[in-house]
Assembly symmetry: C2
Amino acid sequence: MSVIQALTGELSKLPGVGTKTALRLVYHLMKGSRDDARRLAAAIREVADRIRPCELCGNFSEAELCEVCSNPRRDGSILCVVEEAYEVGAIERTGEFRGRYHVLGGHLSPLDGIGPDELRIAPLLERTRGDEGASEVILATSSGVEGEATAVYLEGLLRPLGVRVTRLARGIPVGSDLEYVDGSTLAEALAGRREM
Amino acid sequence: MSVIQALTGELSKLPGVGTKTALRLVYHLMKGSRDDARRLAAAIREVADRIRPCELCGNFSEAELCEVCSNPRRDGSILCVVEEAYEVGAIERTGEFRGRYHVLGGHLSPLDGIGPDELRIAPLLERTRGDEGASEVILATSSGVEGEATAVYLEGLLRPLGVRVTRLARGIPVGSDLEYVDGSTLAEALAGRREM
C-alpha cells in the first residue's frame, strides 16, 4: 500500500527506528485519531520550517538570535562551548549556568576530514574579542579522545587572547558507586580531589 | 522553544516513545536535512488523509476496497478473521493465504464494555451469506483468553450457517527449543500432534 510503505520508509530513517518499529508506528497512526496524526505532521513541518541556527551561538533558534543570546539577563562574558546544539538543553536544564553558549558543530576528527575550518572556531575567537568580549570560555566538548583534542586545540588559540579557559570537572557521577566507576574516571577524580 | 516543545509533545504520544526519545528524534530532525523532515511530515499527512477502512473487510485501504478485496484472484470463499487490521500484513507476508480477510476491530471484552455489537460481527455473518458466500471461516483471533472466547462465540454463530469454521493451529513455534516452550503451548502441541 504505497502511502503506508512511504511512511514506513521515512520513519525507519529515524535513529533507533527499524522497519518493525516503523510499521508499529504507522499502524498506531492509522488506528488513532486522524487529527493526532495531522498534528504530528504539522509539528514536524513547523520545526523543519522555523528552526534555524542562532546567528551568534549556533544554538537552535526560531529567530535570528536564540532565547539565550537574546536574553539580556544572560552574561555574555562567560561562554560555554559545546559540540552540538542539542547539548545546550542539558546544561540549561541544570539551571546553574547564566552565561551564553557557543556551538562548535562537532569536534576535530581529521580522519573524517573535520579540521578547524569545519567547526565554528573563528566565530568563537571573534566573540572573545567582539562586543561580548567574553572573559571566560568553558570548554564543554565531549570527554572522548576527539573532544579532548578539540579542547586542547581551542585552549591553544584562546589562552593567547588573555581569556580564562576552563574545562568541565571530571569525576565520580553523583550517586554512583565507586565499584562501578571506570578506572580512568576514578583516576581523574583522584587527580581533581578538593579540600572539604 | 515552542515549536520544539510542541513536536516533542506530539512525538511522546507515540507508543514506546518517552520524552527522552522524543527529544532525540526532534534533535535528529533539526540536525538532518529540512527536506527529510518535510518528507516525513508529508508522509504522515498522506496516511492520515488517505487511509481508511476497506468497506468490505475493514483492512487498511486507500480506496473503497482494499488491495485484497479488490483483487479478483483472491478467493472470497475463504475468510480469515483477525482482530486488528495490522494483523493482515503478518499473514499476507507469509504468502500462503489466497483467501480474503475480515477485521473484527478487537475481541470480546465485557469488562471494557466491548460486546458483540462493538465488533464487526454482523458484516462477517453477512459475508458468509452474501455474494461472497464464504464456505470457510478461519478464526485467527489472538490466542489469549479474550481471543479464545471471541473465537468460540463466533463459532457458535457461524456453525449454524453451515460454514466450515477453523482455527489457526497451535504448537511449537518453528525453530524454538522444547525447553523454552511454555507448558500450555506444549500441551496444545501434543493434543494437536499429526501423523508424519
